[in-house]
Amino acid sequence: MILILLLFAGLSALTPILTRLLSTKVFYLVALLPAGAFFWTLAQSGVVLSEHAEGTASITEYVPWIPQLDIALSFRMDTLAWLLALVVTGVGALVLIYCARYFSRDEPSLGRFAALLLAFAGTMFGLVTADDIYIMFMFWEITSVLSYLLIGHYTGRKESRGAALQALLVTTFGGLAMLVGIVLLTADAGTTSIAELVADPPAGSALVTASILLILVGALSKSALVPFHFWLPAAMAAPTPVSAYLHAAAMVKAGIYLIARLAPGFADTPGWTPVLVSLGVWTMLLGAWRSLRQNDLKLLLAYGTVSQLGFLTVVVGFGTRDAALAGAALLLAHALFKATLFLVVGIIDHDEGTRDLREISGLGRRRPLLAAVALIAVASMAGIPPLLGFVAKEGVLTAFLEAGLGSADAPADPWGWVALVGVSVGSILTVAYSARFFWGAFTTKKKTTDALAGPQAHAAAHGEPAHPPARSILAAPVVLTLATIAFGLLASPLGHALESYADTMPDAETADYHLALWHGLEPALGISALIIAAGLGLFALRKPFARLQKKVPALVDASRTYWGIVRAVDQVAAHVTVFAQKGGLPQYISTILVVFVLCLGTATAFNRTWPSEFVLFDYPAQVFVAAAMAVAAVMAARATHRLAAVLLVGATGFGLVALFAFHGAPDLALTQALVETVTVVVFVLVLRRLPQKIAQHNKPVRQGRRILIGTLVGVTMGLVGFIALGARQAGGLGDELARLALEEGHGKNVVNVMLVDIRAWDTMNELSVLVVVATGVASLIFVTGRNFTIPRLRESRGRRQATNRRDLVADPHTADASPDDRQHSWLLGGRTLSPENRSLILEVLVRLVFHPAIVVSIFLLFAGHNLPGGGFAAGVLAGLALIARYLAGGRYELGETIPIGPGILLGVGMLLATGTAVGSLFAGADILTSAYFETDVPLLGHISFGTSTIFDVGVYLVVIGVILDILRALGGEVDRQQAEDDVDAAPDDHSVVADEADTRGRVASRATSGPLGRDDEARAGSGDALEEEARP
């Protein structure tokens, strides 16, 4: 069974592709799968039906899934599952075959439709065979979703969308109630197996009753019973094959199936019989009543289906063995005739171009075979012998009669009479609408004149050409009809098979009814005859009856209630949204913070563990640092100039550096100092483009509120910190970690070893965050796409090979003044800056400091294992060196410094980090386990090199990559955009721009042009001129 389900899933996924190749023929292909499942199920008949006689279990499959919740992929095929599986796969295969002729080749989204329908067939198969109640529920919900998609097949039609949403909301509402019931029930019973639940139902308690009733809500909503019946007629907006399958044979039967499944164990639950019988009878009468008023053949059938579902609910929910037997037969009968009728309506629709029974005339003469098929199906629906519908109805009437009369073993059940009378009246109406359906669809009506002209007239009148499908479309209805006849004649063997389900009912010992075509002259036969006669009489009197119907107002209008509820929910949601989401980000943060203060404030109010001992300060300097930081923070909050605010915040950051340093946290102090510097620089890079003053939009009222919230949060956090300090019981992990770091991590700097070894997972996640951030920054600034060429000077490649490179650091003042010797500047990129932006001192300084800085950073990187330092600090230091190059030399200098993109740095860094992580797996160790190679090297002494060092190199590269990316984006690209803006403002103002455009052109042609001649450079012009000017 699991294999079949997997096949369904796989083929459904492939169907859209296959549809592209095969068009409508794909339906023949996919129909093979349900057909195969049908014959597989049929082949199991022997096992399923015989084994039960010995009282053993049926075919089961079991794969554990979530053992903690006792949920398993368990499937079980007993008689009921066997019956349903045959129905859903058999009808499914036939409907798919029918689809091949029903749809034209140019039907939109045919592939999706075929896939969904096939998936639906598989889901139904899973639903009826699942033994684990949660798995059953999963399939249950999947059918809801698939039905939503199938009903909404015509996505362009309003009624399709509305009906699909309605069906989804109603059935998932029921599903939700059912889930609660299932959880309650399984928690109480201690098992999730349906078979075990039914075989050994938990002792009757209020909880069990409630859970069963909740499950029934789900079943009733799925099977469209009052008060949920309204979604089914609306769902007729779906293509007719969907109606035939989902809304006649399969999905709506899920509710009936569940009732039938639970009935043997839970039919004596208080409320079960009253609820199911009363709602079932009501639904049956209401559906039939409305059905008689419909002029649309499909809607007539839809209301008829509602009625029949009510009928089925009464029968399978009644709870006696005979009723269960009759119910199983009725379920089969209904699937056969109702699917047939829907398929017939689909053919009529295609044939005539309409489904209005007032417009169709004389179809019976034109399509006799179709009429015959429909006649037999209608007769089965009306319960006319010798068809299956008759056999089933006989069984139902007998069962109710016996229950009502009572017997030696069982007291008379008043609900038996209710059910009998209700079902009889409902059946009269059923006969009437059955007759009306056939009359409306196939007879020749006198008054309709244009119908005689045939389909073409309709086409002309309504602009929608009728396209009679090929005769082979009749295959599916014919097969179903033959089954109706055959099962009617073979009632006894069928009944024998179904008895193995019915015998699971509690009163199986005392009941001995058997299905048969002819029971002799029994009361039930008399009732049947009366029903048929009365129904035909009602049909004959249809005009007066219709007038009567018009006068009777609808008792309940469930659909209006539904619309009301939906609208109310919408409005409440809108009000809540408007209320909660007003005021933008500040409002949201305020809400969060107020809740935060309230929660934590309440908790602190009840606190009893204040710190017993505290000091005013750890060392005197702390007070001064803290005071400075507090002042800086307050001033930062009040500052109106962006730059001032940034610098003041930076002051608090540097204050932290001091605190860290005094506290014995050299790594922190180092990293914080470096990061703070970089932050300030990056800030300035952006803020130079923004206006100096921060806009003030806040009204004074808001300011008071902000002060209040800020104060409250501050006080709360202070209290929380204070309490937390006092609450700490255990000492630190310092000593243990130190031992670990030395013995396992081979490093003396505990913090660094923790970063790259003990807590390396954490660091790896952090690296990922950094990579994301860098990418985010780049994508925000490089609006038109990250350009993969790094802006570089045009001559750099040629010049790097030049022999006089050694003169690079030569004094430009004394070097020969030949204009060719452009390498005589301190920083190559400096030439591209305009004179007022250029600082020679800075260039010289950077030139001298850069390489030492890089060396120091590499030292920090490798020394970090034993001394303060490590990948983060080293990376930030290297980043600072790059920043210095950029500040002094401009964006071209950046390209000259590191001619590879930040993406490559980030990628290599991540690769090194993840490589060491994964590498340990290959060595058979856990992920991120580090290995060490120790050796004595001359000069350097004892060297211990571990994979964690490689990891740290990855950290180093990622940090450099992030800073480089930020520099390129917020630095270089912002420069470029500014230059562009300046060009717009004053076309011939800045020489940088001309050079800019020139260089960009050259970058593109660099590959072919090679070193450039003098003419080109003369045209570049401004750059040279600048350099000349820079030389005194």
Partner: protein, 166 residues
Amino acid sequence: MNASITLVVLMAVMYGTGVYVMLEKSLTRILIGFLLVGNATNLLIFLMSGRSGSSPIIDGGTADAPMVDPVPQVLMLTAIVINFGVTAFILALIYRSWWLSNLGDEGDDVIAGEEEQDAAEADQAHEFHQSLEGDDDAVRAVLGEGSGAGDDDDDEPSEQERDVMR
């Protein structure tokens, strides 16, 4: 474990000012607030590491003071670098929003105009609502609620019904 009141007070002040600034509409202010709150949080973790001691670096000999708890330091080191990344990202956001609107000092606001935006959202919601109601009405029309369904069989269907039935 005893606490330094000075640091607790400092932390409270930084949280308070940070939140105060963060509640403004200007993105730059929000970033300032974010930095202050970030530093305050670092300080909170820092406080939890207990009193100062020798740095968590094993130098062979027995340390004079007991070693400081290294765990908060590791957490803070991570936090510092992540803080930097997020700061850079918000800066890029600020620049981008300014670049997009290019409206001078209005440029880096979180919301251009509260009322206009509310009105636009209300319009959208209304449109969506109407489309849903249109779908609903179509379903009702199909089911013939409130229209002439149930008329005598011989009556001609109305035009609306004809449309609906196909």
